[in-house]
């Protein structure tokens, strides 16, 4: 049941009606039942996995608190099981592929292998589970006494498939005291859902066929402008797609009186890669920072690494893991290393006092960060590593500089979207609405939501699933 389908809206409406009118003690059960149904509509065969992880965490967390002597080993056991499940489902196909390749070469035996389907949302709910156990171990959070709020924390349908990644202390207290949603939350929630749907069905879904077309085209005649267009157009597609998913998730949760953290904050207006990662998939970035980067940084190596290597190793390892988390293909790993390299260069450059004195350093930073980040998405979207490198090489083909490889419309669309994005960003940043009389602005808002509703009504089709479902 995709968020961008009439089925989901119908489902949400039914759950909301029940939620508003039933006794508060049954609200949690309702949300768990709804989440069961939601996941069942996608992959009933993997429902057991969520229960298994939830039960394991719930009991191990209790033991971690009770047995101080063995708490570290219990933590390791939990991490091992969670990561084993994650790795097994995410990378087993890739491992089988490699093994069968060697099998064919060495033993001349080419057997047929059935690939294993990735359980939807596994990367997100295992991360939530890990953060809970680690927080309990670190003493930041007391283990849950009641199983149902914990189950719902792992299982809450708006964030089950693709986040936002929430911590136990952000969600469980809200689940323990569920109230009927107030008028303000309902309006906010519906507005976010409408906005999310508008961005998904009108922008992301309409960019999708263009992206498919240009990434399927031969790369031999691509020039620099074409490569930038490819990078920008996919960069916007993935942004619209993922941020709209987060908006619908946050809006849906708000309907039940639950506040989820913001996941995107105009990331493409960032003036540095560091800032970008505080504005793009914010909850995942924070998770990676807290549970991977900081622990790696705190490891005291004793095998004589020199200072520079010692300082950059956690950065590159973190981004290697981040790339691997997105997928087993080498493209994702290279994407991670690209990000690490960009951050590393930024760290060095930002230490020079010369740059600090430049008047419009933030604007300049944005002009550098935006295309560099956009270009990194080519690793994400290219069908394989060869295509990715062919596209990157085309950036420097001087002979192709002056001719265009795509339909004229595609350059125009990329330009319009880029301008539209920055207009929207400045509107929010400088709160343009305060320059309008209150009533005029409200009328404008009403017209905006009227048009948004018309467009959502017209374009709502579950033709494209969300890109982040595959991660």
């Amino acid at each position: 049941m995709l968020f961008n389908s009439i089925d989901y809206l119908f489902f949400l409406f039914i759950v909301l009606i029940f939620h508003q009118f039933i006794n508060s003690t049954f609200r949690l059960i309702l949300l768990i039942a709804a989440s069961n149904y939601f996941y069942y509509s996608f992959q009933p065969q993997y429902l057991y996995l969520i229960y298994l992880i939830a039960l394991l965490d719930f009991f191990l967390a209790k033991y971690i608190l009770k047995n101080k002597t063995y708490s570290f080993y219990l933590l390791l056991l939990n991490l091992f099981i969670n990561l084993f499940i994650l790795f097994y489902f995410k990378y087993i196909n890739y491992i089988i592929e490699i093994l069968s390749y060697f099998n064919a070469i060495i033993f001349n035996n080419s057997g047929d292998y059935t690939s294993i389907m990735l359980p939807l949302g596994i990367s997100f709910y295992t991360f939530q589970s890990i953060s809970y156990i680690v927080d309990v171990y670190r003493g930041k959070y007391l283990p849950q006494n009641k199983f149902l709020p914990y189950l719902c924390y792992i299982f809450f349908f708006p964030l089950l498939i693709a986040g936002p990644l929430v911590r136990a202390n952000e969600l469980i207290p809200q689940l323990e005291f569920l109230k009927g949603s107030n008028f303000e939350n309902l309006v906010k929630g519906f507005k976010l859902i409408i906005l999310g749907l508008l961005i998904k069905v009108v922008l992301a879904d309409n960019l999708s066929p263009i992206v498919d077309e240009i990434y399927n085209m031969p790369t031999s005649y691509l020039g620099a402008l074409d490569v930038l267009t490819m990078a920008f157009i996919f960069g916007f597609q993935i942004y619209f797609d993922f941020s709209s998913y987060s908006m619908i998730a946050i809006g849906s949760a708000l309907l039940f009186g639950i506040t989820l953290p913001q996941n995107f904050n105009f990331p493409y207006s960032s003036s540095s890669p560091k800032e970008f990662w505080t504005r793009w998939n914010i909850t995942l970035s924070k998770w990676i920072f807290e549970y991977i980067y900081i622990p790696l940084k705190n490891i005291k190596f004793s095998f004589g690494l020199n200072t520079l290597l010692f300082s950059i190793l956690p950065l590159f390892l973190t981004w290697f893991i981040m790339g691997l988390w997105h997928g087993s293909s080498i493209n994702f790993i290279l994407w991670g290393i690209y990000q690490a390299l960009f951050i590393f260069i930024y760290r060095i450059v930002s230490t020079f006092s010369f740059f600090k004195n430049i008047k419009y350093i933030n604007t300049l930073g944005c002009f550098i960060t935006l295309p560099t980040i956009m270009l990194s998405w080519i690793f994400f979207r290219a069908r394989d590593i060869n295509q990715a490198f062919e596209i990157y090489t085309s950036l420097f083909k001087v002979e192709n500089f002056f001719h265009l490889s795509f339909k004229e419309n595609y350059y125009l669309i990329t330009l319009i979207i880029t301008i539209g994005y920055f207009v929207t960003y400045f509107w929010y940043k400088y709160k343009i609405e305060i320059y309008f009389p209150r009533l005029t602005f409200k009328i404008f808002t009403i017209l905006f939501y009227t048009i948004a509703l018309i467009l959502v009504f017209t374009y709502l089709e579950p033709i494209n699933q969300f890109i982040y479902f595959q991660f």
């Binding site: 049941m1 995709l2 389908s5 009439i6 089925d7 119908f10 509509s41 996608f42 992959q43 939807l120 309006v187 519906f190 507005k191 498919d212 077309e213 990434y215 399927n216 085209m217 031969p218 790369t219 031999s220 005649y221 691509l222 979207r381 290219a382 069908r383 001719h403 265009l404 490889s405 795509f406 339909k407 419309n409 125009l412 209150r438 009533l439 409200k442 009328i443 808002t445 009403i446 017209l447 905006f448 939501y449 009227t450 948004a452 509703l453 018309i454 009504f457 017209t458 374009y459 709502l460 579950p462 033709i463 494209n464 699933q465 890109i467 479902f469 595959q470």
Partner: protein
């Protein structure tokens, strides 16, 4: 007065979404009622009288389109073994759309059927809007896997070489089961298959009971058409605007043409390739150099691979085209009337039967 204003202001602020929803209902009711024409078919909303016709003769479908399956198009014909089977592939201009249409008019394929001895030969047209050669290749490949084809007539438009990639409807056509098929080269797989079972129930309810729900495709086409008009107005695009080739797509299309030629050789299919008629105008809407290079390339390819190639640029007289193509009718400046279709059918007939062109003497072979 001020009190009233403040009351209204406060109400709007509090219930803005509700007001927007009510406005949405009013607008959608008005907007969707206005969309009574089919915006997926240019003939129904451009101000010219063109039409696409489905033609069936003796229960045999002559005009195959993507709305049918390969079996629907060819199964019956395959039963009549004595007939030579031919496919005429191209886009709407040559195969389906008739300019200045009235109810009795027929397209080239019907005229070809009338003049051809249908006891010995049967030609099925396969019309594809903006047909690129990659799609043509996959379609031909799919058809020839199951059915014996004796000759292939292929119209190749320079304009259509701007297109590349395989559209969903083409996938559906060649697979007969779109749900099980994944696009090649697409990294992002479609998981919506499990959705479709459940979706269909709710959607069919919505189609039946939710006002205007089933008419949304038309509304989408209307919006796309308005955007198209807007772009043309802003950038002053009209029929006379030169259409430049897209080099990578052009080259890739020509590579697929070579693949088509290979199939015809392997399957022993006679290939007749032609450059379709162009509307008469003082200056071509193609770049002159690009157009002549294109024709030259096809000529060389035909010589090298020993198939027939005909250039039909000027075979349709001026009277058969739209008189004054202007900004309102630019969607349909490419189509000609029934007389034009007759001329084209005669040409094709003569080529198939006599291996020569009737009117256009400058045949390249």
């Amino acid at each position: 007065m001020l009190k009233d204003y403040l009351k209204l202001s406060n109400l709007l602020i509090k219930f803005d979404l509700l007001v927007a929803f009510l406005l949405f209902l009013v607008v959608i009711n008005y907007f969707y009622r206005g969309i009574y024409v089919d915006y997926s078919d240019p003939s129904s909303f451009t101000k010219v009288n063109t039409v696409q016709k489905k033609i069936e003769m003796d229960n045999i479908l002559l005009t195959c389109t993507l709305n049918f399956s390969i079996d629907e198009c060819f199964k019956l014909k395959a039963n009549s073994h004595k007939k030579k089977q031919g496919i005429w592939m191209g886009n709407s201009q040559n195969l389906s759309v008739i300019e200045k249409h009235n109810a009795n008019n027929d397209s080239a394929i019907k005229h070809l059927y009338d003049i051809m001895n249908s006891d010995t030969m049967l030609v099925t047209s396969l019309s594809l809007p903006n047909a690129n050669l990659q799609e043509q290749f996959y379609i031909l490949n799919a058809i020839t896997k199951d059915y014996e084809i004796n000759f292939l007539i292929l119209a190749i438009f320079l304009d259509d070489t701007r297109e590349f990639g395989i559209r969903d409807e083409v996938f559906k056509f060649i697979s007969n089961d779109s749900a099980s098929l994944e696009k090649p080269f697409s990294q992002f797989k479609n998981h919506s298959k499990s959705e479709s079972k459940y979706k269909s129930k709710i959607s069919s309810y919505a189609d039946e009971y939710l006002p205007y729900w089933s008419e949304r495709t038309n509304a989408k086409n209307w919006i796309n058409y308005q955007l198209y008009l807007l772009r043309n107005i802003i950038f002053n695009i009209d029929p006379s605007t030169k259409r430049k080739i897209i080099r990578s797509n052009y080259e890739a299309n020509l590579e697929y043409l070579v693949d088509i030629i290979t199939i015809t050789k392997i399957k022993n299919i006679r290939l007749v390739l032609y450059n379709p008629p162009q509307p008469p105008s003082n200056s071509s809407f193609y770049d002159d150099i690009e157009y002549s290079t294109f024709l030259c390339h096809l000529k060389k390819l035909s010589q090298k691979n020993n198939f027939e190639f005909y250039d039909f640029t000027n075979i349709i007289p001026k009277s058969s085209w739209l008189k004054n193509p202007n900004k309102e009718t630019y969607l349909d400046y490419m189509h000609f009337d029934e007389e034009g279709h007759k001329i084209l059918a005669n040409e094709i007939h003569n080529i198939i039967i006599n291996n020569s062109s009737l009117r256009y003497k400058n045949v390249i072979q």
